[in-house]
């Protein structure tokens, strides 16, 4: 029982990270109907930037916020420069561009920073909170940070005019233009926010899995699974999916299939959801008219 609790709690911690990346994926999907295959590598690259800042002597939280800001700008740039030209191209062209982005970010990072594994600091104390045996302070902290980010995003989209405009642009670009919304820039903003959220996820996961150019590969897969389980166009669903996938991964890994096949859980989930219920738990069912 103890062991189960431990796995569930650890699963919630990693689940929070999956939820963040899944949220970033859903944000971009809602606006563009595209899945950003490069989301993981963008987060990884941001985490390396944070590492450089910290290594140069900057205090953790200063580096953290500067990285988030930098990631935002990077996301906007990528949308305007790389994605915009292929926005209306056939699916294959867009997928290829995403994969190219993935590959370029991965290799440039490896080139600049080499492939040696690095440690990434956690801002949370070493000792577990109240000496509890179930979760490290970092795991608790990661969940807390995830929840704060989610609440901030929710508040932004729900209560600010800009957030409203972004929601409108994602749902109905043509009507949005008719009220004066610059849809292209809303898209870029969406990418910026998604990149910023991704960077937080990267900085929260790096202390656990250690910093290396391939660290986000598995995380991305789990995030895909989470986004699909929750409904690819539903942000709350993505969050729910993230926590669910995290717990499932840990529990199944520890008790059913062994730790080696954990990624297979993601694979089975992805294929299973796509085949059985592509709209996930909470997504909208799309009917295409002939």
């Amino acid at each position: 029982m103890d062991a189960l609790l431990h796995q569930v709690l650890a699963g919630l911690a990693t689940g929070g990270i999956y939820a963040s990346v899944a949220l970033a994926l859903v944000m971009i999907y809602q606006a563009t109907h595209l899945v950003n295959f490069a989301q993981g590598e963008m987060a990884m690259f941001s985490t390396y930037i944070a590492w450089s800042l910290i290594n140069a002597g900057m205090p953790y939280w200063a580096a953290f916020f500067l990285t988030v800001a930098f990631s935002f700008v990077l996301g906007v740039l990528i949308e305007r420069v790389v994605i915009r030209p292929v926005e209306n191209s056939p699916v294959l062209a867009v997928v290829v561009v995403f994969i190219a982005l993935l590959v370029i970010l991965n290799s440039v990072t490896g080139w600049i920073y080499t492939y040696t594994i690095k440690t990434f600091p956690s801002p949370f104390p070493e000792q577990p909170l109240f000496g509890n045996p179930y979760m490290s302070s970092h795991e608790i902290g990661a969940i807390f940070v995830t929840l704060v980010v989610l609440m901030l995003l929710y508040a932004f989209f729900r209560f600010t005019p800009l957030g409203l405009a972004m929601r409108a642009a994602a749902q109905n670009p043509e009507s949005s233009r008719l009220v004066g919304i610059r849809v292209g820039w809303m898209l870029a903003l969406g990418w910026g926010l998604a990149a910023a959220v991704g960077s937080v996820a990267g900085m929260m996961v790096a202390p656990i899995v250690f910093l290396d150019p391939n660290m986000m590969g598995g995380v991305l897969l789990y995030a895909f699974a989470a986004a699909l389980v929750g409904g690819i166009d539903n942000p709350a669903g993505a969050v729910f999916g993230g926590f669910l996938v995290g717990v499932l991964e840990n529990v199944l890994g520890a008790f059913v299939i062994g730790n080696e096949l954990k990624l297979a859980v993601a694979l089975v989930l992805i294929i299973g959801v796509l085949i059985v219920k592509p709209s996930g738990f909470f997504g909208k069912v799309h009917v295409s008219r002939v």
Partner: protein, 324 residues
């Protein structure tokens, strides 16, 4: 095939036959791999270029073919040439089976599902319950086959690399001829109809489900055959060589070479074999950065790939000649 094309192909094949006698052993090995990749790329192209189904996980079928060959040779003493049809058959079945549920998935979602397959594959291969067969993390080593004795009797001694090259060349020719016939025939037209407008295709009487699954199977078969050949040429299979980057390499190959083009498979194979060798000199990370840049460049500037560019150049030359 026009007479000019036939002549060109014959010349090409002749040139290919001469290569092993003028190149070093290592270069012969590299060109053998070019042939292997060409088969794999033709396989992926049949699925993605001709039938419009995106696969980011074809490395999986390559791996299945490679492991088939390795396990048969290492554990059961099957001769190398017999492993090829077995690998092909296994992958045909595996591809068809994967294609069935994949029927429900379009474009992006299929890319997602195959991407997941590609990322999780090494873990599946390392699974300790399968270790008895797969050799776990260390993989399987196999012995390089010798050229058949009668060549020496003929007074034409071939070393191992040369023989492997010719063997691979033979398989490549067979696969390409079969592929060309397939694509030019009814099934090929059905594949392309589905790619261009799947609703209209169904309305015209094409059995979309059957054609799409079959295409998946055939595509997997080609890639599996290539995998088996690669295992024999490299003499080694290990889980980590079949990661997502292998699948992405294949994608690079067909985009650069040219989608929906048979000759594109050859251009692409040359690209993915030799560019990393050259780029490696600059830095370990450089090959992938170059792949990425080329991918983006080609999508923006040369969406029909090298094959498309060649076709346009030839057409332009022909028009000039007609006008003068």
């Amino acid at each position: 095939m026009t007479r000019r094309n036939l002549a060109l192909s014959a010349a090409l094949i002749l040139a290919a036959c001469v290569l092993p006698f003028v190149l070093s052993e290592y270069r012969i090995f590299q060109f053998t791999l070019v042939l292997v990749y060409a088969i794999a790329l033709l396989g992926l192209n049949i699925l993605t270029g001709f039938n419009g189904q995106i696969s980011l996980g074809h490395g999986a079928f390559y791996a299945i073919g490679a492991y088939c060959a390795a396990i048969l040779m290492d554990k059961y003493g099957v001769p190398y040439w017999a492993t090829i049809p077995v690998a092909g058959a296994v992958c045909l079945g595996a591809g068809f089976l994967f294609g069935l549920p994949a029927l429900r998935l379009e474009g992006l979602y299929l890319a997602l599902a195959t991407f997941a397959l590609g990322v999780s594959l090494p873990q599946l291969l390392k699974y300790h319950h399968l270790e008895e067969f797969t050799g776990g993390v260390q993989g399987i080593t196999i012995i390089k086959p010798d050229a058949p004795a009668f060549f020496t009797e003929l007074g034409l001694p071939l070393n191992q690399d040369q023989w492997l090259y010719f063997f691979t060349l033979g398989v490549t020719l067979v696969m390409f001829i079969l592929g060309a016939n397939l694509l030019r025939g009814r099934i090929g037209r059905a594949m392309m109809a589905i790619r261009d407008n799947h609703v209209a295709a169904e309305a015209m009487g094409v059995n979309n489900a059957m054609v799409k699954s079959l295409t998946f199977g055939i595509s997997a078969m080609y890639t599996g055959v290539a995998g088996a050949l690669s295992a024999i040429a490299i003499q080694f299979v290990a889980p980590d060589s079949f990661n997502i980057f292998l699948s992405i390499t294949f994608l690079v190959g067909i985009v650069i070479g040219g989608l929906a083009s048979i000759s594109g498979a050859i251009y692409g194979a040359l690209f993915i074999q030799f560019v990393p060798n050259i780029a490696d000199e600059i830095s370990k990370a450089a090959p992938w950065a170059i792949f990425g840049l080329f991918l983006i460049g080609f999508v923006y500037l040369m969406p029909a790939g090298v094959a498309g560019a060649v076709r346009m150049a030839v057409a332009r030359l022909r028009r000039k000649r007609q006008n003068s």
